[in-house]
């Protein structure tokens, strides 16, 4: 009789410790995540994007709910910054591993004059065949640039390429609910972007 009581105390003490330990683990895991990118507060519904992909398919951002979407504005005559970002995208996609299908990577040309579907088709899929390479007329692009605060300016130059284009080099991140949540300034290490994107992929939509 006495021994049973004794044992039950021991079990109670063990149970208490285990409960505390589990509680702590849960609390620690539920700590709010701190993003590496620049958080947009409050997050706003992203401006819609409906543009043609290089292969003729239509990309409609509002149909991508449930997916995280990374958007970069660039142009194919850009051999330095734009490929660096697309190579970062590729690295993020590789890092996402089995979750890669839950993220869309989108390149939108800021140079509709020169960037034909054929050109974009040579440029974007060279990084990854699943990446979107979108183009549109200046009229369809203008409201998108507006909505995302994208700056685009042609500069005449003596370069053999003809003119060059100055453009916003941020990466825009749209969450699974379709909100513009984050931007990554140019030069954000791909690992830091991967961390944020992986977090957004695990988020539940509501």
């Amino acid at each position: 009789m006495k021994i049973t009581r004794q044992k039950s105390w021991i079990y109670a003490a063990v149970a208490l410790f285990v409960v505390v330990l589990i509680g702590v683990i849960i609390i620690s895991l539920r700590q709010p995540y701190t993003f590496n990118g620049s958080l947009i507060v409050p997050s706003t519904l992203s401006g819609n994007i409906v543009l043609a992909n290089y292969d003729g398919r239509v990309f409609n951002l509002s149909e991508q709910r449930g997916k995280v979407v990374l958007v970069f504005f660039g142009y194919t005559t850009c051999p330095d910054v734009c490929p660096t970002t697309l190579a970062d995208f590729k690295q993020i996609r590789t890092g996402l591993d089995k979750k890669a299908g839950e993220v869309d990577f989108v390149f939108i040309s800021v140079d509709p004059e020169r960037d034909t579907a054929e050109r974009i088709g040579k440029y974007v899929p060279a990084f990854d065949p699943t990446f979107w390479g979108l183009r549109g007329s200046p009229e369809t692009l203008a409201p998108i640039f507006d909505a995302y605060g994208v700056f685009v300016e042609k500069q005449e130059s003596a370069s053999a390429t003809g003119y060059l284009v100055s453009h916003t080099a941020r990466v825009y991140v749209i969450d699974k609910s379709g909100n513009l949540r984050l931007t990554f300034p140019y030069g954000t290490p791909p690992d830091a972007m991967l961390e944020d994107v992986s977090h957004l992929v695990t988020e539940s939509t509501n």
């Binding site: 850009c78 190579a87 440029y123 453009h167 791909p190």
Partner: protein, 312 residues
Amino acid sequence: MIKLIAIMAFGLAGCIHLVLAPQHYVHAPAHGIFFILAGIAEVIWAAMFWKRPSATTYYIGLILAGGLLILWVLTRFLIPPFEHEPGPIDAGGLLTKMSELAGMISLFILARQGQIAGLARRNTARMVGIAIGLAVISGIGAYQVGMAAEPLFPGLGGDAENGHEESMPGMSTGHNLPSGGSNTDVGDTPVVSGDLRIEGARARPSTPGIPSAVYLIIINGGQNPDRLTGVQTDIATAEIHQSQLDGNVVKMVPVPEGIEIPAGGRVEIQPGGYHIMLVGLKRELKPGDEVEITLSFEKSPSVTVKVTVQAQ
């Protein structure tokens, strides 16, 4: 039997502390020192308890293991002394804590069975209360002492942003070369022209109609400055350009005047900064291909460099 479990649990916890000490020393020296002290204390305790399980060793054991257990729990969600963010819940930590917990429980059972010499027998509730009380007091006490000591020993703290190097946009040369590694191990031998040495020449894959870029590093080992004045190649028109970041906007600027190479200095032609743009490619550049480019300088003789096309 249970005595052996207590000794082994403490010994194991002590050994894990000692093994992990160097890696903690790297992120914050104070933590490394604390791990060594905690590890030694647990091992010594195990030896003491083996020799003679007395009431004093019993209480010291509770204070030691319980305190470390509570301290670990605390620092999972509070910022630990000498650190900047709560610690992770990792396998090493969990194993240590489980074995300390096992040690404490074994101690408690031994006490209940009256196997500890000189320990007054009390009712179980009080014994549990004393054990948890000692653990909490010693854990919170250690935390407070650590916090109080932190400003006194600034040199023992952790680095502000561990592993988060401040990189200039685009100057982080390695990050777009998932397969390539650093610039110097491209596999080519450096090319020398006068006092200049050219290293790590590589190009982006591309196809006719889409420009490519060549990256390399020029090191000036001499006493006089020089200047890269131009680049020629058979496969395209080569131009020196620079990407300039102005706020969020990136702008590409031709640099027809070339790039000054300071005496004893170096010029990094790397992503996000200078690049040699290949316009009007005559053929496709596939990963693994080699192309030749000729660099002209103001003083040093022109030199031809083999450039490897690298996957991106």
